[in-house]
Amino acid sequence: MSLRSQLLKGILEGCILSIIQKETVYGYELSQKLQQYGLNDVSEGSIYPILLRLQKEGLIKGEMKASPSGPKRKYYHLTASGESALCEIQEEWINIQNPVDKLLNRSFYDER
């Protein structure tokens, strides 16, 4: 896997954890939410390998529940270690957000 896609995956993991923290969702809902936030480049299916990994690491848990539309779906919720992992990711993100933004958009700032 290239470094670039690894980086993206890590960030996507954080985004998924954040959505699940707010409310329990099932797979399709989750992909819709990501798109609503503007992450259109993320292909829908790519959430499933990530969901499986997050489950394996014990950060989220899936449970079969009846959905409003009828059929049973697997809804995901955060575990305690998921909560603390999300906090860590949020802190790390705040620390690098500004400097990375400045560095990567340097030409954009220089022009002004």
Partner: protein, 225 residues
């Protein structure tokens, strides 16, 4: 829901897919189900999730390729890597159940063989326990290898267009070598081990009783689904 119920529901729901989407999904299903090391329950739950997702996406006019990507093998491998493995204990139990079934079938076949031979010519009915066990191990090993190779072959056929003539030829060679091995390898084993004088009928009876008990256990506990 257990794996069996999920499979049933999956069969029903799959009919909602369009022809192209069903073809794509079927390939995914075969690829994941033939990965024997993963937990069946977890694999079926994942397959149900993917199916639900595809049905929802289809309602919005999306194709399976757009949802899961063009490269089915890489995508499925990535998921299989993350799926929990089947506990070793239940796999071992399952395999020994199948092997026991195989052993009783072999006993029945050789029992009938012995009886026929006995009526045609007056041959001895001596069985060497050591030889019998080694013979069984050889046959079981050959059959296990065949099953393993066939599963790999099915998995490969999902993402690779196969050459029918070549496949047929390979299958023929595999069956030929397997049968030859099962018939001739045991003949190379010198007689050894504890000696019992069994008639073909005893063989037949032991095999039949074991098989009936296994069938009964299976219908009660559903070991093989």
């Amino acid at each position: 829901m257990n794996a069996k119920e999920l499979i049933k529901l999956n069969n029903k729901k799959r009919k909602e897919l369009t022809k192209d989407n069903e073809e794509y999904y079927d390939n995914m299903l075969v690829y994941i189900r033939t990965s024997v090391s993963v937990s069946e329950q977890q694999a079926e739950e994942l397959l149900m999730e993917l199916l639900d997702h595809l049905i929802d996406a289809q309602a919005e006019g999306k194709r399976a390729e757009e949802v899961f990507g063009e490269n089915l093998k890489t995508y499925c491998d990535e998921m299989i890597k993350q799926l929990p493995k089947e506990p070793l204990k239940s796999t071992a139990f399952f395999i020994s159940f199948l092997l026991l079934q195989l052993a009783s079938l072999m006993a029945i076949v050789s029992g009938i063989g012995n009886i026929v031979v006995h009526y045609v010519k007056d041959s001895s009915q001596t069985v060497y326990i050591g030889t019998a066990i080694v013979t069984f191990v050889i046959v079981a090993a050959i059959i296990s290898l065949d099953v393993f190779l066939l599963l790999k072959w099915i998995q490969k056929s999902v993402y690779k267009i196969s050459n029918k003539i070549k496949d047929f030829f390979l299958l023929f060679v595999l069956i030929f070598i397997s049968l030859a091995g099962m018939v001739f390898l045991p003949k190379l084993i010198p007689p050894f081990g504890y000696v019992i004088e069994v008639g073909g009928f005893l063989y037949l009876a032991t095999g039949a009783v074991t098989l009936i008990v296994l069938r009964w256990l299976n219908s009660k506990y559903q070991i093989t689904k």
